[in-house]
Symmetry: D2
Subunit: 313 residues, 4 copies
Amino acid sequence: MTSEEFDQLRIKLPQWVEESRRHGTEGKVASYIPELSKAPIEALGIHILDGQGRSISAGDCSLSFTMQSISKVFTLILALLDNGEEAVFSKVGMEPTGDNFNSMLKLELVQPGIPFNPLINAGAIAISSLIAGEHSLDKSARVLHFFRMLAGNDTLDYDYDVYRSESETANLNRSMAYLLKDNGVLEGEVEEVLDVYFRHCSINVTCADLASMALVLSSDGVNPRTGKQLIPRRYVQIAKTFMTTCGMYNASGEFAIQVGLPAKSGVSGGILTMVPGKYGIGLVGPSLNRKGNSIAGVDLLQTMSQHFDWSLF
Amino acid sequence: MTSEEFDQLRIKLPQWVEESRRHGTEGKVASYIPELSKAPIEALGIHILDGQGRSISAGDCSLSFTMQSISKVFTLILALLDNGEEAVFSKVGMEPTGDNFNSMLKLELVQPGIPFNPLINAGAIAISSLIAGEHSLDKSARVLHFFRMLAGNDTLDYDYDVYRSESETANLNRSMAYLLKDNGVLEGEVEEVLDVYFRHCSINVTCADLASMALVLSSDGVNPRTGKQLIPRRYVQIAKTFMTTCGMYNASGEFAIQVGLPAKSGVSGGILTMVPGKYGIGLVGPSLNRKGNSIAGVDLLQTMSQHFDWSLF
Amino acid sequence: MTSEEFDQLRIKLPQWVEESRRHGTEGKVASYIPELSKAPIEALGIHILDGQGRSISAGDCSLSFTMQSISKVFTLILALLDNGEEAVFSKVGMEPTGDNFNSMLKLELVQPGIPFNPLINAGAIAISSLIAGEHSLDKSARVLHFFRMLAGNDTLDYDYDVYRSESETANLNRSMAYLLKDNGVLEGEVEEVLDVYFRHCSINVTCADLASMALVLSSDGVNPRTGKQLIPRRYVQIAKTFMTTCGMYNASGEFAIQVGLPAKSGVSGGILTMVPGKYGIGLVGPSLNRKGNSIAGVDLLQTMSQHFDWSLF
Amino acid sequence: MTSEEFDQLRIKLPQWVEESRRHGTEGKVASYIPELSKAPIEALGIHILDGQGRSISAGDCSLSFTMQSISKVFTLILALLDNGEEAVFSKVGMEPTGDNFNSMLKLELVQPGIPFNPLINAGAIAISSLIAGEHSLDKSARVLHFFRMLAGNDTLDYDYDVYRSESETANLNRSMAYLLKDNGVLEGEVEEVLDVYFRHCSINVTCADLASMALVLSSDGVNPRTGKQLIPRRYVQIAKTFMTTCGMYNASGEFAIQVGLPAKSGVSGGILTMVPGKYGIGLVGPSLNRKGNSIAGVDLLQTMSQHFDWSLF
């Protein structure tokens, strides 16, 4: 049956991509990191991978882009591996916020001032400070190594232009990090923590890389090609839960209603999602809606999920 | 296998109930509706129903209690049946808030000032105004009839003491309703709308009633005993999604991580939850934690979900 | 010298009025109370009264208009006369808010949820509940009597069209009042309290009436014509202080810098102000700026205050 | 008459100081800058200076302490001298906030995200960036020179321990500064701006120094001993207005009601105030109330102001 579905997917996907691509003009390419504004607004590409190693691509699949917030799912997992649940959840909460991903309101208004969850900026910065390693470069090397393993791609690397662009202009993230420092959330030097954060946000990927990483999550932490358990199942469960409740910024609730799959978006226009037990999916469409998610990408996922009845709910 | 699980559940549940019951002393019975404060703080009861009509009860199952916020799931469904998705979601959003269930901050701060979701108080009041009917009594009669049908219990009725108690003291809900009126969200007279709301919150149930209602949701809208489709599958999906992202007030994120089931709690200490495709579950434990959920009830669900690996994620 | 100043004022005022009047087109007549939207947008009138009974008028002085928020200064004074400082300031604070006059944010965010000051809507509603009297009509009769005495005008009365218009549409004020009730700030029935509030807001006046009332404040509570102490000096001091720190909504700080006189504005476009020890001033210009103050009126007061060096500071 | 008042002050002050000093035990010495926590909690000293060069001291007048927020009044004046009103008020507003002095809420919630006034931390940091000079050291040298001139004391200097202590721990101010940078408010490097800010906050003074500086303001910018205009009168007016509406943190409204004088407090326990046209006053009492003002100091000023009827209102 899955095979039938996969065949149907292969046939229908190109047309769906073209239909969704048109929505790109309704949005905007991210500009708050100057380097990101160079992405092609009309692009849309998707890569789907199943556990038997079969894959489908459609659209602009050769486009490479930085992970941005998508990386937060995997630094969370690495922080859990490094510190355990209890230590991690003493520094970040588990709740969606309803606020913009870069809001600081709740850090001031809600005691004890820890980030509400690990997928908003404040939370991901707190998570960056929990990655094991002496300095930002050690920590970053461990992150990159972990991401390469999950993607099965030893050539994953930073986009240094994006890294520098973000590092130079990220005053709002700096503000957030110093507030976290004041609230007793961050260990270590703020700029060291931010360096880890900026680096993992600027790791360059393709849709195929995201699909590979997603497939590991959709297979409960096992690499389906090797059968090897790369991530303990509980941490995959935590990651998938957060992706469902908080993965699409403050449009996560709507995405859960309309698509119903664990997913994480980035302001580069990338989305990593999965059909648990079946597929890992990576897509990119740089034109963003008001809440920071790929317009064409969300539209395409909605079409697919409703057609094949993929919602978890 | 499910049968084996059910047998195991039957054996283990009484002891688990006693273990979780002890946590009751860490919380408080709700007092903001004076009548609710009479509930027994140490009580804990649960009823589990499967699609073959088998059931298990444990603990204080004879306790009856008012649905309070649990009713919001079903008035949402009725409003969807009466108005369709588009009309309903022009008046309430789909996002978790991160705020208390009775907060008004976002109604002032986030344009256009519609409630973020149908399960917070403001959202449920907006939903009450969408129930078809001439007056509050017609609307309320339709709600009660719908609830009776879902529970398969024609004797469901209001607890008039709780209804009056809430109606007389609910100044915060009145405040919210007038703000919604000012924001153009509510149709009709504010007091009429509130009357519908207070009535459905004060419908009296037992754990068995909640389990029956939950079973319909866990069976995608079908009454498993009759095979009859009581609710269209899409509306069940919407309800289950909201229960997952917003069902446990501003502890929904944590509940998703620790339990991972669609659920809705009420300040009477009730929780309606389900294992999709398997069971409908109703429980009550009046002692509440800081966020308004049954302490012992959440603890019990966590034990069960982790033991049987029930999480959706 | 004052006499010289007064002569100069008489000569210059007509031209200044014409110059300031032009700014009317930059603003808008209030529309949140439907009846107010009928006011002439280009109107500007002013009346100045000194302690020797001399007066100057210029512009549209025959225009009558409702006091709206200007009344709050005098209900505060009456509440002080009825209850004393301690009782009044247990129900309202003394601080400017920086928020809109109809904001409810701080009532939820800042414990114990009492209004920050008596000149924002929430504070004035709390003050209305403190006026002595059995019912809203007794209380309102006492308010009207007090205002007539201060204005030296026994014909002051309500504009019933505005009263009804506000009473029917004031859902935001109702919301605020119920929140205050919930916070334990309001005594008595919410609708009774609001009725007192709506009535005093809809008392009809001319610029000459406001000037007479202002003159009493500028003379430390004494009616300069009769030498009679109408208000204890301490309560006048309290009123003038609040007018300086909170009288012009959330533009009070700017008004203090640019004009530097105690003043209170209303959304009808009226402003009551004074040069302490010298003049009582009433003006009206219905076109409002973004913060709810008469555009032409503020401009005219700035011209006058800077020309004659009237700032208290 | 003033002379009589001065004689009476001289007689009564020692006893009043002892009475107010007792309130010190109700508060706490500031600890957020570690170095400040060393101040003696029971201390209270005051110095009053009149235009004829006469002075009165009482209590712990030899205590030296850092200016902290008191310095903000004078950096504002220097920024006005350097840039003019229009440029300064394009970067900071004129409104009290009702929030804590270190709150960032309004920077996120109220567009365009400029500080509400120059006397809250965010505003004073913005002002620091406006001081003319190539680098933080030039700017700081100009500030110190200006303060020395106003105090008539060429030995004024930094308390380097406090400067370092604040500089090392001021993560909340750093957070604010980066948010201001992101909002387009700050010119130049954030750490450079903060260095100017930390330095002027840590200038060491005695009550006599504050009294001298206050006397210049109370004399409309003229040094009464030399007759020289040190500050243009308009800038003094602006400063005195802000001191009245925003000088005592979010207790400014209450201070205006109870004392009624332009004043500025610092978390070191210092208060600079004045009786316009008469006296410059400096006091210190390190024990602070919940809002950050000297408990004993405010009490003493209230006693004095009410006894001699000093309120501006």
